[in-house]
């Protein structure tokens, strides 16, 4: 067709592809940073079951419902479930990971605010799902 130019279409396609590449790269980079567990992170096993959380620390002690950590340290959670699928969520620290029977999922965080935070189940897991809560106690560093 005379007088018709395809250039605007090619520019449009190039802009869309460039935007998609940029968005993908940003998301990939954020995921990479968030998933990079520090080498000195302390491992805490998180066991979910209807309808409470059990936390097992590196020294073998266990607590139910209450999770105790120290400010300024890194913690790696190894999350699993004994019955159905749950989801471990510390809303204030944007920690969210599914607890799946027969599988160990990991997520890490480093608490900074010395106070208590809510822990909740974020995957509907039965009758008392709404009350499957816990408390994160962030304490002053011991050393």
């Amino acid at each position: 067709m005379s007088g018709h130019s395809n250039w605007p279409e090619w520019i449009y396609i190039a802009v869309v592809i460039a935007l998609m590449c940029w968005v993908g790269a940003e998301a990939w980079n954020a995921e990479r940073l968030v998933e990079h567990v520090p080498a000195d992170a302390e491992v805490i096993k998180v066991i979910a079951q209807q309808w409470f959380w059990t936390f097992e620390y590196e020294d073998g002690t266990k607590t139910i419902g209450d999770l105790y950590v120290e400010s300024g340290k890194a913690y790696k959670f190894e999350i699993t479930s004994k019955d159905v699928i749950h989801s471990f969520n510390i809303h204030d620290y944007v920690v969210l990971m599914d607890a799946v029977p027969g599988r160990v999922n990991t997520v890490w965080f480093a608490p900074t605010d010395v106070r208590t935070h809510d822990i909740q189940c974020r995957e509907y897991c039965g009758l008392i799902h709404y009350n499957m809560r816990g408390t994160l106690h962030v304490e002053e560093p011991s050393s």
């Binding site: 940029w22 940003e26 998301a27 940073l33 520090p38 080498a39 890194a74 480093a110």
Partner: protein, 86 residues
Amino acid sequence: MKKFVGLFLVLVVLVIIPAVDSVFAAGDEPGEYLDRRVIIWNLFFRMMTVAFVVGAVVSGTMIWQCWRFRESHPNAKPTPYEGTDW
């Protein structure tokens, strides 16, 4: 061909080397931890900015097209089909 080699070299210097560098450097300093809240919320706000800008540009273009190519626009040119009784 030389152009592509040149372009690839520029990409390597500007993108790939810094990316690889940051991959191996991330979070290896003991005691200095990334704040996942900052990373995740920053990503969210950047993506929202992109989404709203793209939405504004796309809807703005569509609004402009409707305005510019309406029949009653002073510069409108009748198509060959205008007045055809299908």
